[in-house]
Every structure is written in structure tokens, then in C-alpha cells.
Amino acid sequence: MLKSSLFYTKVSLKNVYFIVAMIVTLLDVFTRLIDTLDVSIFSYTKYFLIPFIFFHIYLLITSSSMMHQEFQVLSFLEKEKGKKMIAIVFANIFVTIGFGLLSVLIMLIFKNPLFSSSTVLMGIGHFLIILMTGSVFAISIGVSMATLIRNELSIVVSLAIYGLIIAITYGNLSDNLILNFLQAFLSDDTFIVFNEIAGVLFTKEYFADKLVVLCLSVLILSMTYFFISSIKRKKYFIIPTLSLVAFSSLIIYGLNHQYDFYQMMDVEKTTFEEYKIGEYKMQLDLRRKLENKTQIQIAFNENSDTLSFLLDSIFTIEHVLVNGQTVEYTFLDNLLVIHDYFTKDSTVNVEIHYRGKVDIKKDIGSNLFYVSPYAINLVGGDFYWYPSPIMEDVAKFDLNVTSDAKLYSNLPISDGHLQGDTRYVSIFAGIYNEQTDGNIRYIYPFTMSVERIKSTISAIIDEYNATDENIEVKNKYYNQVIVGTWPIEGDLLKVEDSTLYFRLD
């Protein structure tokens, strides 16, 4: 089997379309993709679109042409068509692996040396996943069409099917996970503005996308095998059955799945009790999901039978305790209302324990607020990731954070411990570059430069000066600039304590 696979690999490599695909790839890589590697390792996969398509076309042509051709050298092996099919599939996978290794080598040589090793590993992983998914899918179309049609026409038909799939999905990222499945052989963010700080988040949806295409390919290949193979054994049915089960369960998952899209909340409609926060303590876990145990000290300025906080509805509350006692609460539309009797001038200790997956997208599909092992974007005041009161006053915060990523915040950080007085706490992590210029520390993605950030800030402040708007930003002192994402409804620049937030669009 291995010998005939290697024979087919050689045949495959001698194909003129392989040379075409390689020329296109190398031209594309050395004329424009190398520059991309300097700013983002994920954008490399995104802009690898044309080489991917050419490589898929090569695989379609070579797998279908080898499948219907008879090779005299191997005629003794080719009596069993099923074996021939498997050998061809493996031969093309070998070529794909070779192609992948070459691309990875290019990535490793020309990447920006400032990227962290985890970023590089994830970038390479993402590239290989997209390459393998697309290639296996192309091979399965090519082989199955050649089996059904058995002449040169199969090449045309398989190219037409591939072209149709590209045409349906090209430039049209859908809200629906099922339609996005079809696009799994290209990077999800090919046609939208990409959040370079987050990179690609390896979420469940990401893998579901790719797995569904792989299951479909395995299903097509195993059905083709049964169609042509002369040996039919019962145990051979395990593979198509398993792939069919996996495929259909993934489709059901996709049909029932909803992405969390950002929706603006009208805070002004809600009324709040009059209270003052004394101290705000958090035990925060930001490794995969967000899990938080908060302890809030609250002093009441009036008698009340409710206590309200803003907290995003994506979270699930484990328990709410007031002075150590379990109390009733309602949690609807980003509003948590605790029902208990609170008297004027009394001080209570409230404990709220909640958790949830944070993966909120903008309506175009790019990442907005997220918590993942390597990228975090939690902007207090825009996203209610902790029970927040509506207040202009500062409170004393004390956070213990468990996370694998390097964190940035408006509060001073030392060894996972954030402490200080502020109105809203924000936490960021991701593919950041850091530079100190004068006495200001800039934390920004590799796609930006300090000069560009500085010129944008001064241009915006000039604009504000002309219109007398947002006087807050122009007179404030800051010693840290963090680039993050938040919805367009918020300002492009915001100042919290001595940190200036700069929105990435």
C-alpha cells in the first residue's frame, strides 16, 4: 500500500498543474504575503486565499485524473480498485503535508521575531487545519467524481462542483453556522475586518466547522470505496456509519446554534437604588471561561427592597448571598435584581458567584468581547462582565485573577493581583506589542505603530477642540495607551484613570 502510495505521489508531483500551483503560490508568497507575516501570523492564512484555491484545483485535477487512468506499471495492484483509491487519497495527503511543511517553513523564516511562541504555534496550527480540511475535501470530490464518471469529464465535473461551492460562499459570511460550514476550507475571517489582537480563537464553533467538512469528506470517500471495492466485509461499514453519525449530529448542533452578537443596551431606562460601593473584591478565573466570585460591600442611602446591578445575560449565576444568606434574585435582560430588605444607612456584604463563556461578536462576525486562554477583551462600562452599578463615583477594587495570558488593565497589576480605585475595570490580553515613548506606555497590535497611534490621537483631539466636544479626553493626563475593541457606539478614545483606551476598528 505504501509503495503504491509513493508511486502515486510521484505521478501527482509530475503533474503540470502541480507546477502551476507552486508557481502561483511562490509568486503570491514572495510578492505580498511575506509583508503580512510581519504584522500578523493569522492574516497570512487569511490572505493565502489564491494559493489555497489553486492548490485545491490541482488536487481535484490530479486525484480525478489518477483515479480514472490505468497505470501499466501498477496494473497488478489495480485489479482491486478500492486499494487504488486509498493509495491515491494517501498520495495526495502526502503532497498536502509537503506543501504544508513548505508553507510553515516560510512562516517560520519570515515571521516577525517579536511574536510570542504561542502566537506562532496557533498561527501555524490554524494554517494547517485550514489546509488539511480544504485538501481532504477537494480530494474526496475528485476521487468520487472519477469513480462515478470514469473518464476525463470527471475533472470538469469536479471543478464545476468546487467552483459552485466557492461561488455560493465567496464573500458571503453568514450568521448561520450551517452556511458557514461550506466555507470551512477558507479562513472564517477572509471577507471581514479582522481583530488582530484576538487572532483566531479556537472555539467550539471553529472546530465544528472543520469537523463537519472532514466528516463529509470521509463519508464521501468511504461510500466511494464501497461502490468500487470488490471485497465487502461487515466491519468496513463502521467508518461510513461513524462519519454519518458525526456529520448529522454536527448539522443538528449547527441548526440549533446561535452566535452571541453584541446588542446595545438602553441603560437609561432602568432605575437604580441609591447605594454606595465600599469595596469590591473579585476572585476571577479567565482561563477558558469567565468565572467570578465577587464580594461587594454596599452602603444604602435609602430604604429599599431591591438591589440592582448590570450584568450581561450570557452568564449563569451560581448563587447570590447577602450577609451570608441565600436570597432570591431575578436575572433578565442584562439586569440582576436582588430581592431582600435593605434599610437606610445599613452596610451589607453581597456575594455573587457566576460563570459563562464569553465570545461576543460584532454583527459582521469579528470578535468583540472574548475570554480565551491567550486573548481577553473585557471593557468595563461597555460590556457588563461583572455586576456593575451605574455610577460616576470610583470604588475600591481588589481582584485576584487566574489567567495564562499576560494581562493589561487600567488598574495596576502585580502577579495576577489588580488593586486600585476606578469607575470601571477593564482587562485585556492578546497579540500585543509594547513600547514606551516618553513617559507613556503604548500597548498596541502589530498592525499599528506608535507614530500612527500618536497622530490619530492628536488628530482626534484637534477635531474635538474644533467642535468643543468631549473635553474630558483632551485635558486628561494619561501614562498608558491600550488598544482594544468595543462597539462603534462608544467613543474612539476614552480615558479611565491614567489609561487612554484606543478603539481598534
Binding site: 510578492t31 505580498r32 490572505y47 486565499l49 464573500g171 458571503n172 459570511l173 477572509t190 471577507f191 471581514i192 475586518v193 479582522f194 454583527d363 459582521i364 488628530a459 462603534i488 457606539e489 474612539l492 478603539r503 476598528d505
Partner: protein, 122 residues
């Protein structure tokens, strides 16, 4: 040959970034499964993509022109007749190569008889 390729690249970059008109796009009528408007240089700042359905439904996207790479959607709004829907985005004046950044609107629909009026304004 090299010169030809180089000049072709430059030509594409220049054409892709040329401003057809400044400030706004439309309102223009778009129809069918796939329609794209002319390019426009919007200048910097927050802009609104707006779509009013005339017949059927579809999706309007504000597209940012990226020379030599697939264009990227910066805003998206689902439009269905007869209502109006909007989405906002932040436009940039110049791209990284200091060339005017152009935008256009892409209309896609699953219904060939769909029709809408789309625009981008500040």
C-alpha cells in the same frame, strides 16, 4: 515581463483606491442576487450604512477596498421591505500606503426579485 507585472499591480492599487465621489454613497437602488455600488472615498469618522427595502429582503454590507486582497466587510445590515435598517462603522481617510481609502456597498440576496435603496452617510 517583470515590468508589466509590476505596472499591473500598481494600476490595480491605484484604480482600487480612486475616489469616485467624496463623503457619501447613494442613496442608490440595488436589486437582484448580487449588486455592488461605485467606489467612494468617505473620509474619516463614524459613518452609517443604511438600507431601505423596496421588495423582498437581503443583506447590505459596507465594503472596504483592500488592494490585491479580498475586500473586507466593515458593517452589515439585514434589510427587508418596507423597513429601514442601519449599521455604523468607522471609516478611515487613508490606507497604510497613504492612498485614499475607498468603500462601496455590496448587496446580496437569496431572492432575484429583491430590491432596496442603500446609502452610506456621515
Amino acid at each position: 515581463m517583470k515590468k508589466f507585472i509590476a505596472s499591473a499591480f500598481v494600476a490595480t492599487t491605484v484604480f482600487a483606491s480612486l475616489a469616485a465621489s467624496a463623503g457619501t454613497i447613494g442613496p442608490v437602488n440595488v436589486a437582484g442576487l448580487f449588486t455592488e455600488t461605485n467606489y467612494a472615498h468617505l473620509g474619516s469618522g463614524k459613518h452609517t450604512l443604511s438600507g431601505t427595502g423596496i421588495a423582498g429582503s437581503g443583506t447590505a454590507r459596507a465594503m472596504k477596498v483592500i488592494p490585491l486582497k479580498p475586500d473586507e466587510a466593515v458593517a452589515k445590515t439585514a434589510v427587508s421591505s418596507p423597513s429601514t435598517s442601519t449599521d455604523s462603522f468607522n471609516a478611515i481617510d487613508k490606507n497604510d500606503n497613504d492612498v485614499n481609502q475607498s468603500y462601496y456597498i455590496r448587496w446580496t440576496s437569496l431572492n432575484a426579485s429583491s430590491k432596496a435603496s442603500v446609502s452610506i452617510y456621515k
